[in-house]
Symmetry: C2
Subunit: 235 residues, 2 copies
């Protein structure tokens, strides 16, 4: 499989999709027709969102189309040679993938070699479930099971920082709760400005870095540039 | 109905359940036997959590028992004359209420006059759904529908503050997403150090304050001490 799993599209203060642009362009080298999944946005924003992402991918010289404009999105997918899944609200995204019967078609295509780019919610749905999202559960999906393209959970926008003077749970506390219930499943806290480039069983971490959380172990910091296994063996 | 819906048990730096203590004591005046719901905690923590809360309620001279120690929690509830629902993870809590067949028994009891105290996740499950929680969806409940004791959604631990330099969605952005999908449902952003005391159709806001969010309207700040209607009419 060929995956580019990106923590966040945009660093605060920068124009949309600036930092991952060169990574995305290089990842898509040799691919000409990109299917876009805008369903993490609220429905009224699909057009605007697709147009904004189209600008980015068109600047790489790609033919770009958004699945929300297709009457049969699963069929339209067959005409693409790469798929890009945008960020927004993970619950909106996974519910839409089920409603439009896209879960299995996307997973099958990607397992058969179609390159997959996802950022934020789009990185989360590449995991076994969406249970490590930071998003508000504003709709009820039929299932929290997701595409399961990697054998670990990603927490996008990972940070150990908290709001000064605020008593709500920190991200680390939330991930610890997840691990208490799912002790067998590692969580990758993917920092903003970081991505995982999966190439078969190998995986390269690009950008700032990540932290691996495992039940009963101290979290392990991994720096950008590190070569990993998708299994996380040895990491 | 008699409800005490508390944003947070504990202000940062203070001992457990300090700020709402006097409110809880006064709310429970005349009630002697309190059933506690510890299910927002992870299972290994039920005992420790119940013991910590028992200390608080015992200091009011109440008879206190935790439903996790009952073989038939719904039946045990009948021996109580008030119920307290603790905070933690909202998804753990609502899943447990369904698994233990407690959703309807609790809602019925409270609609028939049993006082209900809930903080954080325990305030969230008093709402129509759990869709305005801040918690990570670490387990999959059979439904996101909740006790529906009030006709609006609470967002506990509400703050408009964000983590400096972090690009993840603000609370206000998350609530705006909720409203875009549920335009008919108001959201009460209940600030830490704040609670709603519901008494029939009247409701008093105590503590710091809250913000009411409605689709297509500017958010409205309400100060602690304000008398409201449970319907939010006029607010």
């Amino acid at each position: 499989m060929q995956l580019l799993l990106i923590s966040n599209s945009t660093m605060p203060g920068e124009p949309f999709f600036t930092w991952p642009r060169a990574h995305a362009q290089s990842f898509l080298d040799g691919r000409s027709r990109i299917a876009f999944v805008p369903f993490a946005a609220v429905e009224a924003q699909y057009d605007a969102y697709a147009d904004r992402v189209a600008e980015v991918f068109s600047s790489f010289g790609k033919d770009f189309f958004s699945l929300h404009r297709e009457t049969d999105p699963a069929k339209a997918l067959a005409s693409a040679d790469a798929i890009a899944v945008g960020g927004g609200n993970t619950f909106l995204l996974i519910r839409a993938l089920y409603r439009k019967n896209l879960v299995k078609p996307i997973a099958d295509k990607v397992r058969n070699g179609m390159p997959y780019i996802g950022w934020s919610a789009g990185a989360n749905v590449a995991c076994p479930t969406v249970m490590t999202t930071n998003d508000m559960p504003i709709v009820e999906p039929p299932s929290m099971r997701a595409l399961h393209l990697v054998p670990f959970q990603i927490n996008p926008h990972y940070t150990e920082a908290t709001i000064p003077g605020h008593g709500g749970e920190s991200r680390d506390q939330r991930i610890a709760e997840f691990l208490a219930v799912h002790p067998e499943m590692p969580v990758v806290g993917l920092r903003e400005g970081s991505l995982l480039h999966v190439n078969g069983s190998a995986m390269k971490l690009q950008g700032i870095g990540l932290k691996i959380f495992r039940q009963g172990q101290e979290a392990k910091e991994i720096a950008g540039g590190t070569e990993l296994q998708v299994s996380l063996a040895g990491a």
